[in-house]
């Protein structure tokens, strides 16, 4: 029978269906069991959901996500958060892309051999079985779980992600990559000086009359702060940027001072000498709140001159004088100490010297003042996700520590027992750590490397198993910032994509499998509603801090802390003396100087005369974002910024391919001539570009910063004390 379709056009049957009020009904006509289809129901509602950006970023934006019929359509900043102010950055706006990217890791997968690129899809059950069996085998062979190592950092700051540490604790004692590559020297410095880190609420910056942004680039790395900086300026605040590089932030300042890298302490001490000599010291504040200032002043008189400071820093004496005078006489004055600034062998001491300026001038504990670095005042949740005890029968007493900043060497060297298995989450060590070549070798030697991640990257490339994780839009969470004072609930906006799971669901799933294979082998709960896990994190103090009666008030939107917004306003420092300590015995006990004295920067090696700095880039956060197609469309190639004078010296033209090399390794990339950086300094912004095989850290030795062990468990890393030679390819 021939069925004449001419008279039965598409428009006709659509009209017919609509007129009938129903679709034309394959659902009823066919047996759909076992098929991917089911009978259509009502469309999903349109809704707006509260999310929070969980990246390692000052701004930790509150997000409003518009969802239509279960599809994330739009993200925007939440105006209810007076720091986010209704805006996101370029990275935040790219979330609608990254969530649905066809390149997201979709399923658990197993690689036949690390680095081979030969992956097969496995089920979650199979993944958990492989991992659990390995854990139990290790436990049987070694009598403990110390051969299992966790390398986790800050790629996802959803507070529920501390479940990953909890998961490790729940199987026994393990090896932990401890410390942080990011900010530890500065944290230690402020721990010695103040007792801990505690910046003023950044929204208080508008009250400042003089603001020094010292080694920070908020135009790129804390974009929401720039409104506050500019507002302060509008209200009469002078904005000064001190940086080896003329950054975008510097371009917006009233005054940019280019300084030789790693000499910030010398500049601060030169300023301190001027302030002392000209009696611009706040004696009353010191008498009431400080200890050891007399010794510090003696040090200044005996060791520091402005001529010395000028010679060390490359900043003219007259500039140092003017800067010191303006800073000390503007009331109140603030200093924003950047994290990049302390990534040197003397980074911690440099921060101590800068802190001393704020203390000498009484700019601590005041609105508009401060030695602003970071705060963890708003991080006081219960950490219920992390509080698991080792299972019964555990024979070890504590975790073993390796330095996260020297993990390649320490994984290879671990002995008695060796490290045999590695769990990597919220981090991509093979793009971010020093000595990636050695780290690759270390991974090759391990029996099992498991990485939980969103996208393929060099770390996943060298893993045995990859587990797909959810984005913030697909799960529950709770987010606070280490800079501003807002707290935001993160609710699931959409379904998890493909078979992605949150790290918390992974922990529960692994625990279930471990206990199935060996009852009692893991104490992590094996089930639980994610919303309940969020609820369980709230303490009475935390609720009070944010003016909440119950945690679910956060479902209406983010909330700001109602107290503690000005660091040290009560003058009760958390040092042993209860005062600000110029002279810190705690520092001495950790092997450091008593006072904020000058300690030498790293000497430039003769063989490698150019400093290679690798600061943060505007389109990424470490291994995240730059790999996305949108970002690659804007910027797709690595570049080295070279001062025009240096380029001329080496006969390098703009666009030439050059190699930068030292004893660690080499990189090849395009030259970009500029006047923005000093003659002896090259700049390669750290980023992971997809499919380029480029890593600036190929030239980076794991050189420790001076501080970090006290507060974070391991010294920091002197990223910016990397020296190379250059040649045209």
């Amino acid at each position: 029978m021939k069925f004449d379709t001419k008279s039965f056009s598409r428009r006709t049957f659509i009209k017919g269906s609509l007129a009938a009020g129903t679709a034309w009904g394959l659902g009823a006509a066919l047996d759909l069991s076992g098929s991917p289809f089911q009978t259509a129901g009502a469309k999903g509602e349109s809704k707006v959901v509260h999310n929070a950006c969980p990246r390692n970023c000052y701004d930790t934006c509150s997000i409003l996500s518009t969802v239509e019929d279960g599809v994330l359509k739009r993200v925007e900043g939440n105006k209810d958060n007076s720091y986010t102010r209704g805006r996101l950055c370029a990275k935040g706006f790219s979330y609608t892309r990254s969530v649905y990217s066809p390149d997201r890791i979709k399923y658990p997968m197993k690689q036949s051999k690390k680095g081979s690129g030969k992956w097969e899809r496995i089920s979650w059950d199979e993944a958990f079985t492989i991992i659990a069996k390995k854990i139990l085998d290790i436990k049987k062979e070694y009598g403990n779980t110390l051969p299992i190592c966790l390398d986790k950092y800050s790629g996802n700051f959803n507070l529920l992600n501390y479940c990953i540490e909890g998961m490790m604790s729940s199987i026994g004692h393990t090896t932990r990559a401890t410390g942080t590559p990011c900010w530890p020297a500065g944290i230690d410095a402020q721990t010695f000086d103040f007792g801990t880190i505690w910046n003023n609420d950044p929204e208080d910056m508008v009250n400042s009359k003089y603001m020094i942004i010292w080694g920070a680039n908020p135009s790129w790395c804390s974009v929401h702060s720039m409104h506050l900086v500019m507002e302060a300026r509008k209200r009469g605040c002078k904005i000064v940027v001190i940086d080896p590089i003329l950054t975008q932030t510097a371009s917006k300042a009233d005054w940019y001072i280019q300084i030789k890298a790693s000499t910030d302490g010398a500049l601060a001490l030169g300023m301190a000498r001027y302030i002392l000599d000209n009696d611009l010291v706040d004696h009353a504040w010191l008498a009431a709140h400080a200890k050891g200032y007399a010794e510090f002043f003696r040090y200044l008189r005996e060791n520091i001159t402005l001529e010395w400071a000028a010679e060390k820093t490359g900043v003219k004496k007259e500039i140092i004088e003017q800067l010191a005078k303006e800073y000390a006489t503007a009331k109140p004055a603030s200093i924003w100490i950047g994290y990049g600034m302390q990534r040197h062998v003397n980074g911690g001491q440099n921060v101590r010297s800068i802190d001393a300026l704020a203390a000498m001038t009484g700019n601590i504990g005041k609105s508009g003042g401060g030695a602003q670095y970071a705060q963890l005042q708003t991080w006081g949740i219960k950490y219920n996700v992390m509080g698991m005890k080792a299972p019964a029968g555990t024979v070890t007493e504590k975790d073993r520590i390796i330095n996260i900043n020297n993990s390649a060497q320490e994984i290879l060297a671990a002995d008695d027992p060796p490290i045999k298995m590695l769990w990597i989450a919220c981090r991509s060590p093979l793009t971010q750590a020093a000595e990636p070549q050695k780290l690759r070798e270390a991974y090759r030697n391990l029996d099992l490397v498991v990485t939980a991640d969103l996208f393929m990257n060099p770390t996943v490339e060298m893993s045995d198993i990859v587990l797909p994780v959810t984005t913030a839009f697909e799960t529950w969470g709770l987010n606070v910032s280490y800079w501003h004072y807002w707290c935001a609930l993160n609710e699931p906006a959409i379904e998890p994509q493909y078979e992605a799971k949150s790290d918390l669901e992974i922990a529960m799933g692994l625990s279930a499998k471990l206990n199935e294979l060996e009852p009692g082998s893991c104490t992590f709960p094996t089930s639980g509603n994610l919303e309940d896990w969020v609820a369980a994190e709230f303490t009475p103090d935390f609720l009070k801090q944010f003016g909440l009666n119950s945690w679910d008030e956060l479902k209406k939107g983010p909330r700001k802390a109602v107290k503690g917004l000005i660091g040290w306003q009560d003058g009760q420092f958390k040092t042993p003396s209860g005062k600000y300590e110029f002279a810190s015995e705690t520092a001495v006990s950790e092997g450091h100087e008593l006072l904020p004295v000058w300690t030498e920067k790293m000497e430039t090696p003769e063989k490698y005369p150019l400093r290679l700095m690798s600061p943060h880039w505007k389109l990424n956060i470490n291994a995240q974002f730059q790999n996305l197609d949108w970002m690659m469309d804007i910027h797709s190639e690595p570049e080295v910024e070279i001062n025009v004078a240096t380029a001329e010296k080496y006969a390098i033209q703009n666009g030439d391919m050059v190699r930068l090399y030292n004893d660690q390794g080499e990189i090849q990339l395009k030259a970009k001539l500029t006047k923005l950086t000093a003659a002896d300094t090259l700049v390669v912004y750290e980023m992971w570009l997809k499919d380029k095989g480029f890593n600036v850290n190929n030239t980076l030795k794991a050189l420790p910063a001076d501080m970090g062990k006290k507060a974070t468990g391991a010294p920091g890393i002197a990223f910016h004390d990397n020296f190379v030679a250059i040649a045209k390819v």
Partner: protein, 200 residues
């Protein structure tokens, strides 16, 4: 009618055979890599051509994942929207248009909002459902509706992207197996394209 000449019995055999082919292709793209061999055989029978049916080894499976699954950047994403929108991004207008086509037929995905509606596994399966309806309800209004939707879906969706996808497979594939499945699918899609361009 969706055929070029021939009698009714031949048409019905074709519908049923095509339904089987689409279902095998759906299974293949859903991850049942072995189903590719069946798909090749069925396509060869339907088109009455000789097609190579390579054996499937580990290299073929790895290649399948590199092309269609991951974990690295996919070499030939099996998604209509990838080829039809400038950002290569699913869950936009193109995916929603496919969702709309399913809903017009009274269907929705069990994995709705977890896997894009325009994934090849679902588009192929949908076509197999339409063909099943055509052959089972021959002579009834439902068959006519299914036939019209079948033609429209091919013309407005699958045929607009599948050839670009197959070119990507040809370029990116490192295995005889995946290339053979792509080659067979190419022949089938050409045949379908010609068929739907002839309305009687």
């Amino acid at each position: 009618m969706l055929c070029i000449g021939g009698d009714v019995m031949e048409e019905m055999r074709n519908w049923r055979q095509k339904a089987v082919i689409y279902r095998k292709l759906a299974a293949f793209y859903a991850g049942d890599v072995d189903a590719g061999q069946d798909a090749i055989k069925q396509i060869g029978q339907l088109l009455r051509i000789s097609l190579l049916v390579p054996s499937l080894d580990d290299e073929g499976r790895y290649d399948f994942n590199r092309l269609f699954v991951g974990p690295q950047k996919l070499l030939a994403p099996p998604l209509e929207s990838y080829y039809r929108n400038a950002d290569h991004l699913p869950m936009q207008a193109e995916t929603m248009a496919v969702r709309g086509a399913y809903e017009e037929a009274g269907l929705t995905l069990a994995a709705r909002n977890r896997i894009p509606d325009d994934h090849a596994q679902f588009e192929f399966y949908f076509l197999s459902c339409l063909l099943e309806a055509i052959s089972r309800y021959q002579g009834e209004a439902l068959a006519g509706q299914a036939a019209e939707q079948y033609r429209c879906f091919l013309q407005e969706h699958l045929l607009l992207w599948v050839f670009m996808h197959l070119r990507a497979v040809e370029k990116g594939s490192a295995s005889e197996y995946c290339r053979a499945v792509a080659g067979a699918l190419y022949q089938f899609m050409r045949w379908e394209k010609e068929a739907v361009s002839h309305e009687i």
